[in-house]
Amino acid sequence: MEGDKRFWRAVLLALPLAVFAVFVIWPLASSFYYSFTNWNGFNPDYDYVGLDNFQKIYTDKLFYQAAINTALWMIAAILLPTALGLGLALLIDSSVPGSAAFKSIFYLPICLSAVVVGQIWVWIYQPDWGLLNTVLEAMSGERLRYAWLAKPDTALWSVIVAWSWQQTGLSMVIFLAGLTTIPEDLLEVCEIEGATTAQRIRMVVIPLLTPATVVVIALSVINSLKGFDILYIMTGGGPFNSSDTLAMHMYNESFKKYLMGYGSAISVVLFLIALTIIRVYFRQLRKVDELYG
């Protein structure tokens, strides 16, 4: 009997492990391997080129542009949905009329795929008849009309707004869950001690939401590092690479310029950056756990 159990345990664990190996470990290992080659993605013949690809990264101006954009993207993708989600959660938690309906409405975008979200916002930003320009024109005439996705100075930020619109619902729901874990009597102490709403939120609610904030930020970091699809739909990294992120840059080098070896090298660097961020983050997480766990 005992042996039977162990056999089935092994089988049941082996299945997901096999899937993980085929779809995660093997591609990961392949990327590492190809990053030392000049493979073009089709040709069965390719050469081992050592660290050439990594040297090329070192001198690639577009890579730096993409790295800066990725940093901007990450910071904005963490700050905006977190701040907006917290604000919405506090408003909804204060039991404004119709808060249940608002909750569903704000959560809805997260149920859409990034492609759909991207398409919706492409329509909104459309220069001639898009919603945004139509509204701006009604307000100010021609003056504020702008080709949001077609100009290098606004393309990245326009995508960030679309991204935040989608992600805010998720952080809001996590913060709402966090708010329900704050003991009622702590809020009553605030009331008896005479805290203003602002004092209560700043000195009590936000610190007590730390565990929820940790989760929100973790998801934002992970989602933003993966953020590729919405950029691909909305700008494709353009114009003039102004909204290129590392993931986008890697895609363009690998699948548009057919420099699979070089693309793999970029992906390796991206992997190492992600690993570093996540390691630092998990170390912080442990500190939070000690305080609140």
Partner: protein, 355 residues
Amino acid sequence: MARLVLEDVTKRFGAVIAVDAVDLQIEHGEFVVFVGPSGCGKSTMLRTISGLESVSAGRILIGDRDVTHVAPSRRGVAMVFQSYALFPHMTTAENIGFGLRLARVPKDEIARRVTDVAKTLQIEALLDRYPRQLSGGQRQRVAIGRSIIRDPEVFLFDEPLSNLDAALRVRMRLEIARLRDRLDATMVYVTHDQTEAMTLADRIVVFNQGHIEQIGAPVELYDAPANLFVAGFIGAPAMNFIPAEIEAGENGKANVRFGAVSLPIGREAAEGKVTFGVRPEHLSVAAESEHDFLGRVEIVEKLGAESLVYLQTGFSKAPITMRIPPELSVHAGEEIPVRVGRKRLHLFDAEGRVI
């Protein structure tokens, strides 16, 4: 002077009446304890005084000021919660000084006052610790410290010792008694523990189903309960209740009869069915010639300082509890002669009111 006056205070939650037209005057410096079973309205009453709950009807006055519709923070009250309600992300010092920080008191003054309070409560060494690093008793002290520092006119305690273990509860009870003597403030204390009520209170208010059953000094409630409810609630183990009848006795005075027992009550009373109440400590093992009834010992609980004996009798379905000195040797199954102390007989009419 902070006199606390409740005038006809009613609190409804939908159709449920939690507090029903309560009138009460608490004098300055008095320590009043609200007791009663769960759901009797005592905590709601306290929360209404604090302002955390609004009143449905009636008035609340603190020091002759009508605070019925005043915000909790402006009522001059401080509250100590059962759960301590300490902020987990703040140190002891920050928790105690919280109210002062909200009021934007200068930092050095906060530090000075926090140190003073911590000295009073003997928690100076814990000022830099977080709540999770404190024991239950220490946490409760911090919670008390937070309430003292604001120098309130009225202290409200909501079952502050319920989360502590028995030994600690006794120690904290003493500390609260010391605090009561040292602080010149009015205190209202809610508990379901009648020992706490008896030991701490100047006056006890017994709540039941949203209204006050009786108000009085602890000994008063113990010696002269106004009704069956108070008689049963105050005193541990609880008073024995025996179905009985009043009948005519000698010299125009009445007797109370239950089973074969007939006891003179020493005064006149109308004949009829009553409930006869006698406390376990007013029953004693008697010499064969002086006993009132025989009871078969069901269980003996030896508590060390005393023993509790549960008796089966012919006249009461519930076992009769008696309290005896520990050196008396009594065994289960044995039949023992019992004498009823004549001075402390309680009689209640069909409505439960004392006769």
